[in-house]
């Protein structure tokens, strides 16, 4: 076992992990944050996406020991029922959520994009979420939601 210290959703955590423990399992089982999903275990579906120092990573391919000293953001860390993140609000308003299983990963990929590029083109949005599979929506309303969120985050009234 190895002690690691990291920040998750703004809180400092110190836990013991095995060298082979995956970040996905630590987030879900040790920390009880179930918003991060298992979809494939091989890094091909994006359902397990979290932000590592603001960058989207696949937690099913990341060893927990690798996040020592770093900062993790999961879906639980970006907004609450009462204070939704503008991207969450836009996904709700645009009808971008169907079964919802891809939604946490999708929203985090969108957040990473909009944090560095507040005015992305449609192509840039597609490129940013191409690692997040969705079987329900055909992506149309997801792309529209990210465009809507971008506008709102830029201060446009929509």
């Amino acid at each position: 076992m190895k002690e690691i210290e990291f920040t998750i959703n703004g809180r400092k955590k110190r836990i013991a992990v095995r060298p082979k423990d995956l970040l996905l399992n630590v987030i879900r089982e040790e920390l009880g944050l179930k918003g991060t999903k298992y979809g494939c275990g091989t890094g091909e579906c994006g359902a397990c996406t979290v932000l590592l120092d603001g960058r989207p990573i696949l937690s099913c391919l990341t060893l927990a020991v690798a996040v020592n000293g770093k900062s993790i953001t999961t879906i639980e860390g970006i907004g609450t029922d009462e204070h939704l993140h503008p991207i969450q609000q836009a996904f709700i308003d645009a009808g971008a959520i169907q079964c919802g299983y891809c939604t946490p990963g999708m929203i985090l990929s969108a957040k990473a994009l909009l944090d560095k590029n507040p005015n992305p083109s449609e192509e840039e949005i597609k490129e940013a979420i191409k690692g997040n599979l969705c079987r329900c929506t055909g992506y149309v309303k997801i792309i529209a939601a990210i465009q809507l969120a971008a506008k709102r985050m830029r201060g446009e009234r929509v």
Binding site: R28, L33, K34, G35, T36, K37, Y38, G39, C40, G41, T42, E44, C45, A47, T74, I75, E76, G79, T80, D81, L84, Q88, Q89, F91, I92, D93, A94, G95, I97, Q98, C99, G100, Y101, C102, T103, P104, I107, I125, K126, E127, I129, K130, G131, N132, L133, C134, R135, C136, T137, G138, Y139, V140, K141, I142, I143
Partner: protein, 762 residues
């Protein structure tokens, strides 16, 4: 009962009641739930597609520290069961045997042979490796046509591999072909396709204090609790199935997934047990869309009138029959598509092979038929030298026409309208973007029933209760796969009782707590549970209007319900809260549990296939524009437009979501998706090999909603969840054929196949 004519909530683009919990990651899907002391289950799977089991030795696995139990077929009280999936009425003839765990022999690669429950998943996996199974390999059969040969290896010893066949005989095809000016014959196929929902099959089971068993599992059919009780040999009343929100279904969670295994392991150990299947297990071993082989012969007059169609359909049922006969019946009834044909002969067969059992998949066989008949329509138009759109328009079904199964259509078939809207949106075929590019445009029309086959005598129940503060609780056993099954019920109640969505709570998907609402399959929940919920809400509405009419001294018809109030025409009003309190004080019922019955009928005549099979259909058209790179063979879908007559859109935003999702799924079907079995073993075992559309693969998709308000659902709605997929693959396939000037009849149309076709052409 009064009738609601002007809608305040129906037809509005309102966000679903559960969108916030999903956007914030709070929804607890099957794998997001745990209990103290929970152990983990794993499945040992067959290493051969067809083999006798000579010996199973579990002793080493049992001795491993941390193992709670190891089970084989001998430990299953009723291992061989008849599959009868959520049928209200048992219909004889087509029920196949399904084995919980392989017994005597294995019939497909990956068939469950033994189960392990252990303290951790790792220990369970180790124990699986310690189980010794000695096999004697048998010759397998992997092609349904070969499996039809009486000399082929038998999947069920001593029985024919052909497990069901249907016929349609309408008019006289010999006479029809004799009158035809042109006859076109072709063969088509459709491949193995995986549902590829993002949430793999998962659940948790536990034993309750009173010794009964509860299974919380991702399923489209909570009513499987009856079969689970049968497998365990206990009364149905002692099994409870709960489904949380489902991370996608598409038919793949209609068959039993992990329920039996969970129930058996919890039952034997007394501990809560969790099973989560890996993506590899889901892709390689779970049910798939039935592959089909089609033969079509079409006779037409010079003016484009179709006079006869003869078709042969053969589907690969896989190693167990499960739902294959019913899927085949869907394909058979849909075999000639939405066209008026006087002389029809259809022969269809579903055949056991050593593939994993094929199962339900969005459109339930109607989509495969559409892939065939819509390619054939283009081929016939080409031979006639006629525009494929004009050819279709000449033959589209219309109200009052008779389908191949003899059913006279009583309501609108808006195919001229949907096709015109699609063409208007697609515009002219664009020029290629470069010298090595080819552009093609294709259209396809399709149909799919909503509601189950009428001989199953389908019913649904829902309960609506007005609370004393004017809020509303709905209890309905729907399973929500993400298409808004719950949300539509909330929107219906909001309309009927004038209560805002945020004051409505729905409790769903629990056999012990909610009225049984039947399966979330067959595009039936809005139709069936929507109508049941509407009836229940209307009864509550009538009760409170009656009370209000007493209070105000006016007739009920003079009252309106809106904005949480009952209002009179002269400006008096009473809040729902006050009317609820007044009703409660007088003992007036503030709740109603209503049942909706679909039309009931009989199985069609086996020799002619004549007889109504479905309550109703939804019809529509898809158009596609594609561009092909002649150097790489890559197909880029540039544009999709899909239009469907949905009767009445309860929520247009959700209807568009269905159309758009169906379009993306259909592109995958046409171009990339293939589980690719070789000698019974899936070659695609991850999303690296099983390619579904990503955000960059999906083009501009225009979803067009047509509303003729004459469906059988609440407020005239028709079902949309499945039909939206049907015409997409053939539209894309026809666009590719248009671009190439040549048809590739094998699916998916990969770059490799395109390059081969281009080489053959030059």
């Amino acid at each position: 009962m009064d009738v609601i004519k002007e809608f305040k909530v129906i037809g509005k683009r309102l966000p679903s009641h559960d969108a916030v919990e999903k956007a914030t990651g709070q929804t607890k899907y099957a794998d997001d739930f745990a209990l103290p002391g929970m152990i983990y289950g794993k499945i040992l799977r067959a290493k051969y597609p067809h083999a006798r089991i000579k010996r199973i030795d579990t002793s080493k696995a049992e001795k491993l520290d941390g193992v709670y139990c190891v089970l084989t077929h001998k430990d299953v009280p009723n291992n061989a069961i008849i599959s009868r999936f959520g049928q209200t009425r048992a219909v004889g003839g087509f029920e196949g045997v399904y084995r919980v765990l392989a017994e005597g022999k294995v019939r497909y690669y990956g068939e469950p042979v033994a189960l392990v429950a252990a303290e951790t998943e790792e220990i369970a996996e180790k124990a699986i490796d310690l189980i010794e199974v000695e096999y004697e390999e048998l010759e397998g059969v992997f092609d349904p046509r070969e499996a039809m040969d009486p000399k082929a290896p038998k999947i069920e010893d001593g029985k024919s591999n052909v497990v069901a066949r249907f016929k349609i005989r309408k008019g006289d095809v010999a006479k029809g072909f004799a009158e035809a000016d042109v006859i076109v014959e072709n063969e088509y196929m459709s491949q193995f396709i995986d549902h590829a929902y993002l949430e793999p099959e998962a659940g948790v089971a536990w034993v309750e204090d009173d010794g009964s068993i509860t299974i919380r599992v991702s399923t489209q059919v909570i009513e499987h609790y009856r079969e689970i009780a049968h497998v365990l040999g206990i009364p149905e009343s002692r099994v409870r199935v709960i489904t949380p929100k489902i991370g996608g279904g598409f038919g793949g969670k209609e068959d039993i997934t992990v329920e039996y295994y969970l129930a058996l392991l919890a039952w034997k150990t007394g501990r809560p047990v969790k099973i989560v299947q890996t993506r590899e297990e889901s892709l390689s071993f779970r049910s798939k869309r039935h592959p089909y082989k089609f033969k079509y012969k079409t006779g037409v007059k010079k003016d484009g009138t179709i006079v006869a169609v003869e078709a042969e359909l053969i589907s690969d049922a896989g190693a167990y029959m499960t739902l294959s006969p019913w899927v085949l019946l869907y394909s058979t009834v849909n075999a000639i598509g939405p066209y008026n044909v006087p002389n029809v002969k259809v022969d269809s067969y579903t055949v056991l092979t050593n593939h994993p059992p094929s199962g339900a998949y969005r459109t339930f066989g109607a989509g495969q038929a559409c892939v065939a008949y819509e390619q054939q329509m283009d081929e016939v138009a080409k031979k006639l030298g006629m525009d494929p759109v004009e050819f279709r328009k000449k033959n589209y079904l219309k109200k009052g026409d008779t389908m191949a199964n003899g059913w006279k259509i009583p309501n609108t078939v808006a195919l001229h309208e949907t096709t015109d809207l699609v063409l208007k949106y697609l515009g002219k075929k664009p020029k290629p973007s470069g010298p090595k590019k080819l552009v093609g445009m294709g259209i396809a029309s399709g149909m799919c029933s909503y509601g189950r086959m009428i001989f199953l005598h389908d019913t649904s129940r829902s309960k609506v209760r007005l609370e004393l503060d004017g809020s509303v609780t709905i209890e309905c056993g729907v399973q929500d796969v993400g298409a808004g099954q719950e949300a539509s019920l909330c929107q219906i109640v909001s309309e009927v009782l004038g209560v805002p969505l945020k004051k409505i709570r729905i409790i769903s998907g629990d056999t012990a707590a909610t009225p049984i609402a039947g399966t979330t399959t067959a595009t039936r929940q809005l139709y069936m549970s929507g109508n049941a919920t509407y009836l229940a809400a209307m009864k509550v509405r009538d009760n409170i209007l009656t009370k209000a009419s007493e209070i105000f001294g006016v007739d009920k018809s003079e009252l309106i319900i809106e904005d949480e109030k009952i209002k009179t025409k002269d400006g008096k009003s009473i809040s729902l809260r006050d009317i609820a309190v007044a009703c409660a004080a007088d003992g007036v019922e503030l709740f109603c549990e209503a049942q909706f019955n679909a039309p009931f009928g009989e199985v069609p005549d086996p020799e002619t296939g004549q007889g109504r099979v479905f309550p109703d259909f939804t019809y529509g058209t898809t158009g596609a524009i594609v561009e092909i790179d002649t150097e790489t063979g890559e197909v880029e879908v540039k544009k999709i437009a899909s239009a469907f007559d949905v009767g009445t859109a309860i929520n247009p935003m959700r209807v568009e979501g269905q159309i758009e999702g169906g379009a993306a799924m259909g592109i995958g079907w046409a171009l990339t998706e293939d589980v690719k079995f070789e000698k019974g073993i899936a070659k695609a075992q991850s999303f690296a090999e099983y390619i579904i559309a990503t955000a960059v693969d999906v083009p501009e998709i225009k979803s067009i909603i047509v509303e003729n308000h004459d469906g059988l659902g609440p407020f005239g709605a028709r079902g949309v969840g499945e039909v939206v997929l049907a015409p997409v693959p053939p539209a894309v396939i026809n666009a590719v054929a248009d671009a190439l000037g040549k048809r590739i009849k094998e699916l998916p149309i990969t770059g490799e196949r395109i390059l081969l076709a281009l080489r053959e052409k030059s």
